[in-house]
Amino acid sequence: MGLSRDVYRLFESVVGPENISDNPAILRSYMYQPFGCRKGVWADISPAVVIMPSSTEEVVAIARICNRHHIVFKAMSTGWGMHNMPGVEGAVSLDLRRMNRILEIDGKNMFAVVEPYVICAQLQVEAMKKGLNCHIIGAGSNTSVLASATSVAGYGPDGLSMGYSGRNLLGVEWVLPTGEVLKLGSLSTGSGWFCGDGPGPSLRGIMRGWEGAWGGLGVFTKCAVKLYAWNGPPELEMKRVLPNYVLKEPIKYYKSSLFSFPTLEKLAEAALKLGEAEIGYFISRLSPSFVGMQMSAGPDYVNTWNTGMLQEMLKYAFLFVIFASSEREFEYQQKVLAAIIEETGGQVSPVSETQEMQEQTSTAVIKVDAVLRSCFRTTGGFNTSFGAMDTVDLALNQIRVGTELKDKYIRKGALMDDGADNSATLVFDQGHLAYTEMLIMYDHHDDESVEGAFQYLAEANQACLDKKLGPPIFQISQVGKGKHGAFGPACFNYDMWLRKIKSAFDPNNTADPTAYSPPEE
């Protein structure tokens, strides 16, 4: 369903002919979205047009046109995943790629102001030059800083020391579905970007709440995020060591270690204690297959896996990274770490101290540049199930239920055998919160595999309800309309509030609600 030429010309007059297209060749490439696709790689619904605004003013103009002509719009930043696609026919897709500037890095007050298309890797290198660092989400540094902060989840393993994206969010410039511009926090009172919660309205809860509105509440055109101290060199030089680029020189006061525990409970206990002790730079539960695939591919990986060595060594393990600012702090942290590991019966993995281990993990830990390898590379089809940013206990329950359920489908052969418990998880925000999600890999071009994968996801989602495990992150965005409705009753009817918010902020329902929530009837 295309747009009328007149409307097309209206949009064209906003962004110029170079930055708008409804050519099938262009639209088709946007419809390629394997992550979150039901089967294969193609979205069922094509956007009517793709528009690339370059400024807030242009976004506003576009939103106004959409409201006037009752056209649904949906914005994307890096556009990775089906949830970036409009879920209704005849919608406008906003590709924010041209809004890609780092507007400011305030070293003194330790924050950066970015536009939607700035990716973590970019912000990080620029921050490091000023002795600062930024939080990077688990999906990788190829993702948008702003999107994670304003619109979607936002957990990353360095969250142990740098919180999570939602927490790091300061001032925000928000183009509401109606086209009005709303500024949050200190920004609204003209006192700069430094705070998200006033002076001036916070609305943080309304804007992103627990996991974000996934583009269902308009477009966030600028935001400030908190930066953290970086004690490493201003530039990280790399050398090639297959299959990775690794640090040329080891960094001072930096040490990564791999610990394994007798039980999942012990692992969690250790993680919690470490969080509470407020030490460490990075912590991540590493599943055997995840680690294996970081290091090797193809037959190498399969052979290693078949030896059972990985599963043995990493059954209940996490990677813990200390990155201190001084010799004294470095020693202190190591002491605390050693003590906690001992209390909880942890073991230092034999590979932990090897130079290879130190090298190979360095870039992955600091730059989060190689997640793809362990998720999409082997089968192409990847998804995540369950998922919480909540208490350690909830995380554990999700893992227990998830592992059991997943194992069933692995035995059916529908999913790749990654040892079932392939959960990226652990405490963040100094141990106040724990994160988990259960990864699955399947062949999205193989009917049986797809069939199995989606049965699993359905069962997993049901289990979240039945076993009171909370709404599963990422699943909601994918299952779309009514999904919150399904979980609301089990969670204080939060879905009602979402619908009210939607109606209040988007009277014409022009911001695509598919991945968020429909307005109140």
């Binding site: 490439s29 390629y32 979205q33 990775w80 530039e235 193809g298 896996w305 089968t379």
Partner: protein, 428 residues
């Protein structure tokens, strides 16, 4: 045939849409300003212009999801220098073939008779005059007039044949460099010959534009000629030619009884053997631009053929094992060593180098057909060179040099461009 779109189905179907093809390998990203990798997506912005977007396009075509071939589609397909940056970046993580699906998409379209008018000019010139410059074949030898050098096409014998390449043969401003190269080699006591008016195009542009039928003819006849001439090495100063001779010629299954060398490799040898003495010092701070075809694209590439087996449930195992060509094994050090060997020269590196080097913008017919895009791409590189305080860009490919020179002429930047050979000549 070399380019069959269907051969890359599995790569095209398994792109994760992660956008790594748009950036340098993330670990190598050094600044916001120069954090782009792919000229095409950087200039045109629609996802379609990226490596991943092009794979989606190729897939849509093979699956019959794109019925009508519009002019805009063709523009998208050819607004790409086929520099291979996307390919190197992707392989750092996802290990997919990206560049060859891009070639193959072009071959697929060309096979149906879809291409830009400019391309038909280039190909006609190839068919009629054995060059892509739309110049008469008879003039090909002109650059060497007055040079005392053996002409192998007249039955003379030599150890080394110097292949000047189309641009050096026909670009009056640049052909001086070809002349200098020959005299340089002779001075160093190399038994070198040329093929004069009988030299013909390496076929690189034809291949990169997807006209593989035309390419194969030129590649095969070049191999025949060089075999017949009985030379031990073919030396060329055109990275564009070197890349194709190194990475694609061997795939034609013809015995190549000669070694293919880029001039920088050969000079590097000669200098290290003490056969070239550099005594004049040049006080200058220069940076080196890696030509894509001398760097990542000169790496040997053998298309994977085999079966995909499922193990561990859905783990896709390729048999035989798929070798990943990351572009790490291009020619990176020899040109740098040559530059360093010049007394007084200070070599500074730009941010994007070697396998993640930013393209000059001239490649794959873009210079001839979409010059504005070529010049824009060059200007990005020039800005990068200036940002590291270089007074000159040294490169090792006539196409890069031509394009940088044009871009500088257009912008009035004060920075000069040299070929490695020019630098050596000044130092002798």
């Amino acid at each position: 045939m070399l380019l069959e779109l269907r051969d890359y189905m599995s790569d095209m179907k398994r792109c994760a849409r992660c956008s790594l093809c748009k950036w340098p390998p993330l670990a190598q990203l050094k600044s916001w300003r120069f954090s782009n990798m792919c000229p095409s997506i950087t200039r045109y912005n629609f996802h379609t212009y990226s490596g991943g977007g092009r794979m989606a396009l190729g897939l849509a075509l093979t699956e019959g999801r794109l019925e009508d071939i519009t002019d805009e589609l063709l523009n998208i397909v050819y607004r790409c220098t086929a520099c291979g940056a996307c390919d190197s970046s992707c392989k750092y993580n996802s290990e997919l073939e990206v560049l060859w699906p891009i070639y193959s998409t072009r071959a697929y379209l060309a096979g149906m008779g879809y291409f830009l008018p400019e391309h038909s000019m280039i190909i006609d010139s190839l068919r009629k005059e054995d060059n892509i410059m739309m110049k008469p074949k008879t003039d090909r030898g002109k650059w060497a007039e007055g040079l005392k050098v053996k002409d192998l096409s007249r039955g003379e014998k030599a150890e080394v044949v110097y292949h000047a390449g189309c641009l050096y043969c026909y670009d009056p401003e640049l052909s001086i460099i070809a002349r200098e190269t020959v005299t340089l080699l002779q001075k160093a006591g190399v038994d070198v010959g040329i093929r004069g008016s009988q030299e013909s195009c390496c076929g690189s542009i034809a291949f990169q534009l997807g006209f593989q039928g035309e390419f194969i003819k030129f590649a095969e006849s070049n191999i025949d000629d060089w075999n017949a001439a009985g030379v031990s090495s073919v030396v060329t100063s055109c990275a564009c030619g070197f890349g194709i001779m190194k990475s694609v010629y061997p795939l034609l299954g013809k015995e190549m009884k000669f070694e293919v060398l880029h001039i920088t490799q050969y000079l590097d040898r000669l200098i290290k053997e003490g056969k070239i003495k550099l005594d004049r010092s040049i006080k200058s701070r220069v940076t080196y631009h890696d030509p894509c075809n001398l760097g990542r694209k000169s790496e040997i590439y053998i298309p994977w053929k085999g079966i995909e087996k499922k193990v561990l449930g859905q783990f896709i195992l390729r048999e035989p094992e798929k070798v990943i060509y990351r572009g790490w094994n291009g020619v990176y050090e020899p040109p740098r060593d040559v530059i360093r060997s010049v007394p007084g020269i200070e070599l500074v590196e730009m941010e994007r180098i070697k396998e993640y080097s930013w393209c000059c913008g001239a490649g794959a017919g873009v210079k001839q057909c979409l010059d504005d895009f070529a010049l824009w791409t060059a200007s990005e590189r020039i800005a990068e060179a200036k940002s590291v305080g270089a007074e000159a860009i040294v490169t090792a490919c006539p196409w890069c040099e031509r394009n940088f020179k044009d871009a500088i002429a257009a912008s009035g930047d004060d920075i000069s461009v040299y070929d490695v050979v020019e630098l050596l000549r000044q130092a002798m």
